[in-house]
Symmetry: D2
Subunit: 141 residues, 4 copies
């Protein structure tokens, strides 16, 4: 399979996450650092919907550490809020995959947006590597 240098995508999925007590801080807001976990859950579920198990990918020897992460907070989220996170797999370029996220509260208000890029890394050599064929096939079909 020839890897196109850039594979532009627009695959969108949606998950819901209930804010845990321990994820709030003394302002009563979800602590800004905790959204990273939400987005991780969101992208893993996005892959699962495509039929790709991130866990299995790792067991097959490909890790996917985060390369860049940026988030813009528009409104806070609060304890027990049921958040909706919309995830887009934006593109695959070389050894990297790009995700976009929009989080909404129960009123349907956009509370933040984020982007994450991750690198496919060979677990043995610890070097960047192409995405697994299985993932590419599922993304393009």
């Amino acid at each position: 399979m020839i890897l196109k240098s850039i594979l532009a995508l627009m695959i969108q999925t949606e998950i819901q996450i209930r804010v845990r007590y321990g994820e709030t801080d003394r302002m009563g807001y979800v602590y800004y650092g905790n959204y990273a976990q939400y987005f991780e859950v969101a992208r893993v579920e996005a892959l699962r919907e495509l039929g790709v198990s991130y866990r299995k990918m790792e067991e097959d020897g490909i890790m996917l550490p985060v390369h860049t992460y940026s988030v813009k907070f528009i409104q806070p989220a609060f304890y027990d809020d049921l958040l909706t996170i919309r995830t887009r797999i934006l593109k695959i370029a070389g050894t990297r995959i790009y995700f976009g996220f929009d989080s909404y509260n129960e009123k349907g208000e956009l509370i933040n947006t984020a982007e994450v890029s991750l690198v496919f890394v060979n677990a043995v050599t610890k070097k960047p590597c192409p995405p697994p064929d299985d993932l590419l096939l599922r993304l393009t079909n």
Copy 2:
């Protein structure tokens, strides 16, 4: 005191943080979401060095939620690593304050860089507000 619309700054401080076991993930890396706490500790200590207590600022009715956060990972950090984080207070513009961070491992290698902007918010009205005079005085002297 007249608040200049933009106060360009170059105040730099440095802290050291020892990576905790629970902060690593199954890759053996510090989980990408945990750096947010390191940068929070770094900026609080940067303010403390200037004589400003973030805790006291909150008790005086000014909260400082994060508005934007971005980080670029260059190398992973590992369990028990003693990281050095250099913090720069970049500027105050209107109701916002901007911090820059560079993290180094024990070999002195740059492992990531980050930026955070935060908004001064009146704890009662929940509206953005000017930074406290005390902070401005300490930043400009």
Copy 3:
């Protein structure tokens, strides 16, 4: 309503929690400290099933900090495991409520057991207080 000094209960509920990547540590196990959040989610959902919103209870001025917590680990849990947590509301005695938890992995194996006691605290006086009538009514009906 007269509060019986001890209200023995056997109310059992069950939730499922998917292990997040950031909850594992470099052993590949769920970090021992992270189960506290799972048990917190489990007891909040146990109350929700009874028609009691913990969030609303707090908004009504009653906090519920943890008094004692103990856990015995039998087997580790791993990334992406779908855990089942069985929660029992054991009893209410004076100003305290007692929960018991059993966690199971996808094979149905018991992986840990835990107990948590919490104190009803008046949010204004910060003093222990009786449980809210609404909770008692729902527990005894």
Copy 4:
């Protein structure tokens, strides 16, 4: 070296930990789940003072997962508190090591006590194993 079945110890060390913002919850207290990390830091530093590196022990093929953990909360801790944690290595019995912890706030008030037992596990076989000789030597000298 013959391993005594039970090695009673009374080795005591002390560390200080500054409460991070993200470790508080919306009650303004340190979230009960976060103390597990404090106690982990405390026992690793206790071992380091004896000249034992937990990191090196793992690299040498011995893991130390937690077997039991219990904590009793007496008072809450708050944001920015500088806590003192006194750690005692209580005993080594068979393949287990037992630690006790007392946490104090800046006023010197006892805020909680805890106990943790951990199992020495061979990283390859995943079976319990005797503690490393080096650790035993350092504990008994």
